[in-house]
Symmetry: C3
Subunit: 138 residues, 3 copies
């Protein structure tokens, strides 16, 4: 069994931002030399998500609007912010959008349907954060 590990670094300009990282994960997979296996991609932080969906600007606006309507940023609303943070909402947003994705690796490629793209979902940005790629297989 082979294993491969890589970190990606991000520092977003906005508090909430979605970044397509599919090509970076594909590059890591090529570097790994793994042909059959599983590829895990997760943020190493608890106010961010890695998720798979469509690379369509309108949809990303819809995600932001829905999340903000259902989990408002307003720091007054969250007990977590008594610690001095202002990101209580981001911890909830990340749970709803999910932490990680696991992708099948087949014939040396991410085994995706036609519209699947991997995104880094930042909910408390403007600081340096990491994503972990871990691939195991043969």
């Amino acid at each position: 069994m082979k294993s491969y590990r890589k970190e990606l670094w991000f520092h977003t300009k906005n508090r909430i931002e979605f970044i397509n990282i599919t090509h970076q994960v594909e590059e890591a997979l090529r570097d790994s030399g793994i042909k059959e296996g599983l590829c895990l991609v997760n943020p190493m932080h608890i106010t961010a998500s890695v998720f798979i969906n469509d690379d369509e600007r309108g949809l990303h606006e819809d995600y932001k609007k829905w999340l903000e309507e259902n989990i408002p940023h307003n720091p007054e609303l969250y007990k977590h912010n008594r610690t001095g943070e202002t990101n209580g909402d981001a911890h909830i947003k990340r749970q709803v959008m999910g932490r990680e994705v696991v992708v099948a690796v087949t014939d040396g490629e991410l085994d995706f349907g036609p519209w699947e793209q991997i995104f880094y979902g930042e909910f408390d940005g403007r600081r340096k954060k990491r994503v972990l790629i871990k691939i195991i297989g043969e």
Copy 2:
């Protein structure tokens, strides 16, 4: 290390539908000959989920009602639908219900508690869609 791959195809009658695919995944696992490992099951589409919960009709109605109340289908509400689609809601519903499941394989069986069942969750049906099963192990 062994690996095994299979696609399941679905074409639902309804826009939203939940289909128990546990037996099909168990059959794939038997075909794979893998006794110890991990089994990934995911839709190859971005308006559908694979999730694990109870095979109980009332609960499935509760899921549909909760999702519709919190993420209404009304196509007017979503910028994504300016692309000509009417499925903006389905992209959000799928995130809330989750994309994939990873199931432990032990002694050649899905290592499940008594009530765990695997479902294909369709949120924008009436068209052909695929689920991917990928199993790795020995």
Copy 3:
């Protein structure tokens, strides 16, 4: 390829409770002898979650408050409860918080960022329930 399996048992005092199980998963990883691989942690029940977030009391109160406001316990609201259950809400809460986590194993450690902690999330407690840890790798 090595594989390792362990069950953890819980019996919470409260209906909803979050328990930090990071040390128990680390202990299982050491027992496994696996240095590189993937570690799956999931409840074997369908009204509970395993999730990764912060070990901060205020945040946990925020999760409970948000979940209760958005998915109220009131048993009258759910068709599932016609079966005699009172936990319709718990099945929805678990979907929103997620079922399982998959964690990278690197150099014999859970490959975590600084704040990542693993929690058992109980939404219908006061009974015995299990969490499954399955680790594969080398």
